[in-house]
């Protein structure tokens, strides 16, 4: 468990919600091409909390998210998820990947598998569930996202919004402790965005811990418990949604919001 006193003052001490489940301490990452995508980032996410990361393009939002489930490795600092350190140890990384679900902007469904198989696959291979158990879980989730009747379809036969909902179901089927969403709606038409946001809203209500990157300020405000504003690989501001939008602490944040809203 990370020591609370090393966290910067902008980070809450998880009073309202549960204990911290994600802690990022002094995380830095520089890409081989010299871009410093993360610079001394400190973030704490509490259980059942919904954290929204916003910021201009290239500010390191995706990189932070990708570091959280080990798709990228940080150069220095520490990331701890559910008391497990992501420290280059392969075993730890594999456990964390199972605990953390990720939904990508471009869906990344497996095009050669049916919707059901997309959701079943990792359950069988990683969680070692048998076919019946996996299918039960999958159908349950697909029904929840409103796609029970499309289980036998292939991804290419679905609309973007439907594909994104399958991607969410696929991640949920692993019963992750944390869900990460990277601009999960920005590849969608306006009317399809609605469907996906609906699912995410329901998840938030159910108490799922979520970290999401979005450009939808309206949605951020609605579901976000806390908003983190990033720029140039640094966390500029971290505040409750209300405080953030009503009364941003930083000059830069204000400038950004005035542009967007």
């Amino acid at each position: 468990m990370p020591e609370q006193d090393i966290l910067p003052t902008t980070e809450p001490a998880c009073k309202k919600k549960g204990a911290p489940i994600i802690t990022v301490e002094h995380a830095s990452k520089t890409f081989p091409n010299g871009v410093a995508a993360l610079q001394d980032v400190n973030v704490t996410v509490c259980k059942s909390e919904v954290v929204v990361i916003i910021g201009p393009s290239g500010s390191g939002k995706s990189t932070l998210l990708r570091c959280l489930n080990g798709l990228e490795e940080i150069d220095s600092g520490h990331i701890t998820i559910d008391d497990i350190r992501l420290n280059g140890n392969k075993k730890n990384r594999d456990i964390i990947r199972q605990e953390v679900g990720m939904v990508f902007q471009s869906f990344n469904l497996f095009p050669h598998l049916t919707v059901l198989d997309n959701v079943n696959l990792a359950q069988k291979l990683v969680r070692k569930r048998d076919d019946k158990e996996a299918t039960d879980t999958s159908m349950d989730l697909l029904n929840k996202v409103g796609l029970g009747d499309r289980a036998a379809s292939y991804p290419s036969q679905l609309s973007g919004g439907q594909q994104q909902r399958v991607a969410i179901a696929r991640a949920l089927a692993m019963h992750p402790k944390v869900m990460l969403f990277d601009e999960a709606t920005s590849a969608l038409d306006p009317e399809m965005i609605g469907e996906v946001l609906e699912v995410m809203r329901a998840l938030a209500k159910d108490g799922m811990t979520m970290v999401l990157v979005t450009h939808e300020m309206g949605f951020a405000r609605e579901v976000g418990d806390r908003i983190i504003f990033m720029e140039h690989g640094q966390v500029i501001e971290s505040a409750t949604a209300e405080a953030f939008f009503e009364n941003p602490g930083e000059e830069r944040t204000r400038a950004f919001l005035s542009q967007i809203l």
Binding site: L71, E72, E73, G88
Partner: protein
């Protein structure tokens, strides 16, 4: 595969190193115990460069073969490119006649083993055509400076028709592959480029010459240089019709000296030197053709 980590030693590295080490050790042990072979590396020098009391330093057998291979490859590439461009354009032309000819050519040549092609060409087709054209007499009666020139750029008079047969066979063989590269390259240029040229009033020839072909060249260059490397390799096959190129000279040498292993290894290295330097050169050529891309 995602490269998420900095390079570090993985179990796979260690496994492969072990396997390679084991294979080498086994090979060494077997060579030592099984194979009765006397290595004579030092004797090889004279086949590269030889001191003759009358003529001074002269190229040895292998050097001669290497030079022939280079000359043959260069000529082959020149003619193969001409054939390939003509046939490639035929394959992309509007005329069904042209396309059918291109298709028949490519289909026929690419589906017969080169070994078989060479025999058929050598004994049958090229021989008839060259005799009919009287090339042999022509070369023999040519003035000395022409003969000298041919000897330097191609082959000495007495081997000229053989060289020409090999050249024609190889050019036709490689030409079929270049045809396909050219076709793909031309078809990779977008329809809009045709339309833009057309809207400016360019004639079909100008359109091809100034707009389509230069762009197609960017697409054609990489496979074309690859084909050049193939040509160097494929030229080995004309040794079966006794063109005195590198492989042939090597085999002759083995026949005389029985230094089988040394000579195979040296020949392999010589081919490697040729092809690798070729691919280095080709990289520069490609860059030149891509200079308009930022």
């Amino acid at each position: 595969m995602l490269h998420t980590k900095k390079p570090r030693i993985t179990p796979l590295d260690i496994g492969i190193i072990l396997v390679i080490a084991a294979a080498l050790a086994a090979f060494g042990w077997r060579v030592d115990t099984q194979l009765d072979y006397e290595w004579k590396w030092t004797a090889l020098g004279q086949y590269f460069l030889l001191h003759d009391p009358d003529q001074g330093w002269i190229p040895g057998l292998l050097t001669q073969g290497l030079l022939t291979t280079i000359k043959l490859s260069l000529w082959t590439m020149l003619f193969a490119t001409i054939i390939g461009v003509v046939m490639g354009l035929a394959r992309t032309s509007r005329s069904l006649f042209n396309r059918l000819i291109g298709q028949a050519y490519v289909g026929l040549v690419r589906n017969i083993p080169p070994l078989v092609l060479i025999f058929i060409f050598y004994f049958f087709i090229s021989d008839q055509i060259f005799t009919a054209m009287g090339i042999d007499t022509m070369v023999r009666n040519a003035p000395p400076w022409v003969q000298e020139f041919l000897a330097i750029t191609a082959a000495p008079v007495n081997q000229f028709t053989g060289f020409l047969s090999a050249l024609v066979t190889l050019a036709i063989y490689e030409g079929a592959y270049i045809t396909e590269h050219v076709r793909a390259g031309v078809q990779a240029v977008s329809v809009q480029q045709y339309e833009a040229a057309y809207a400016l009033g360019l004639s079909p020839w100008h359109r091809m010459r100034h707009v389509i072909f230069p762009q197609a060249m960017t697409h054609i260059m990489p496979p074309l240089t690859g084909q050049f490397i193939s040509t160097i390799k494929d030229s080995a096959i004309v040794s079966v019709i006794s063109i005195q190129e590198l492989t042939f000279q090597g085999m002759e040498l083995m026949a005389a000296t029985y230094m089988t292993f040394e000579i195979w290894i040296v020949i392999t290295i010589l081919y490697l030197i040729l092809t690798v330097s070729c691919s280095v050169l080709s990289r520069y050529a490609e860059r030149w053709f891509r200079r308009h891309e930022v």
